[in-house]
């Protein structure tokens, strides 16, 4: 296999990480909604934590994207 095809395959594999981050973001918002509907009074005070969890889950997916871009354009 030449380098060009290996690069494209590697970038495609790195894109799997974005899907994993999608699962993570879904879990964050899903669990927040679940608990918010059980205790709506406490939901507003936890929104900051919701976005911290979202930011952490999203960052890992964005790193996968950055890896794909590095493989495609920087190597």
């Amino acid at each position: 296999m030449d380098l060009e095809s290996a690069k494209v395959i590697g970038a495609g594999l790195a894109a799997i990480g974005t899907g994993a981050a999608a699962i993570g973001v879904g879990i964050v918002f899903g669990s927040f909604l679940q608990s918010a509907l059980r205790n709506p009074a406490a939901a507003d005070s936890q929104q900051g934590r919701l976005f911290i969890g979202f930011a952490a889950a999203e960052l890992l997916g964005l790193i996968a994207f950055a890896v794909a871009m590095i493989i495609l354009y920087a190597i």
Binding site: S45, G48, F51, A55, L59, L62, F65, A66, Y73
Partner: protein, 259 residues
């Protein structure tokens, strides 16, 4: 690249000098597209704030809009840092508004006018990295100013068993030092990813409608998709600005109150 030579989604992030190239001590300091859009951001912010700072007793629409933003940031700082954080509200507010306006400016459909292209200043690590380093140095300065060497107790949470202290301290130290990097990386990669997605599907529309009746369907689907993606991108712009301001205030909270 094989595929990139046709679509080339990275071209939109190219920084070009407007006017003469200026050199200073080996650095290129010419006025670039990036500088132009940051100046535009500042001008828009300035006009927006000036129009709303009339301090009328019965606020008009404009003043309500400005007070909505300031109140939003003040509430966030109060909830995360407490009364001590009031003096950092201006910094966090400027950070939030600059990132928000710069993100939105990059999404404006200015490309309709031939020859003009929107540019997202926040899609470059040199911009977001500097913003992140600014936040990080404020955290360091405030932390050492208020607590002196006691600031290092940040790396050892309360109630850690003595055996675990070296391990926990190492982990906390790494997670502390990674903060400016992850702060800047999140914003710039989120912007780049969205713009690449829109560029790729935008070119699908063009090449789809050029490709005969079979392509028209693909072009139409791409068009509907890109409308949804554009709406999502507007949401991402706001969320990324919010997350940047929120994390900055959380890090400041660590420096002010320790934990």
């Amino acid at each position: 690249m094989v595929a990139a030579s046709k679509i080339d989604p990275m071209h939109q992030f190219l920084i070009e000098p407007l006017g003469p190239r200026l050199q200073l001590g080996g650095f290129d300091i010419s006025f670039t597209t990036s500088s132009l859009w940051m100046v535009l951001t500042l001008v828009i912010l300035w006009v927006f704030m000036l129009g709303g700072m009339k301090r009328e007793l019965v606020p008009g629409r404009w003043q309500v809009a400005v007070e909505g933003f300031t109140g939003f940031i003040r509430n966030m700082v109060d909830a995360n840092i407490g009364p001590e954080g009031r003096k950092f509200t201006p910094y966090i507010f400027s950070l939030f508004m600059f990132i928000l306006v710069a993100n939105f400016l990059g999404l404006m459909p200015i490309g309709i006018v031939p020859g003009l292209h929107p540019f997202t200043a926040t899609s470059h690590f040199s911009i977001t990295g500097v913003l992140a380093i600014m936040s990080f140095s404020i955290v360091l300065i405030v932390g050492f100013w208020r607590h002196g060497l006691k600031f290092f107790s940040l790396f050892v949470p309360h109630g850690t068993p003595m055996v675990m202290v070296p391990l926990i301290a190492a982990i906390e130290f790494i997670s502390f030092m990674v903060r400016p990097f992850s702060l800047g990386l999140r914003l710039f990669v989120a912007m780049i990813a969205g713009h690449i997605l829109m560029e790729v599907f935008g070119s699908f529309i063009v090449s789809g409608f050029n490709g005969g009746p079979m392509g028209w369907g693909i072009g139409l689907i791409s068009f509907l998709f890109i409308v949804g993606v554009a709406a999502l991108e507007l949401l991402v712009c706001a969320i990324q600005a919010y997350v940047f301001a929120l994390l900055t205030s959380l890090y400041l909270n660590d420096a002010i109150n320790l934990h």
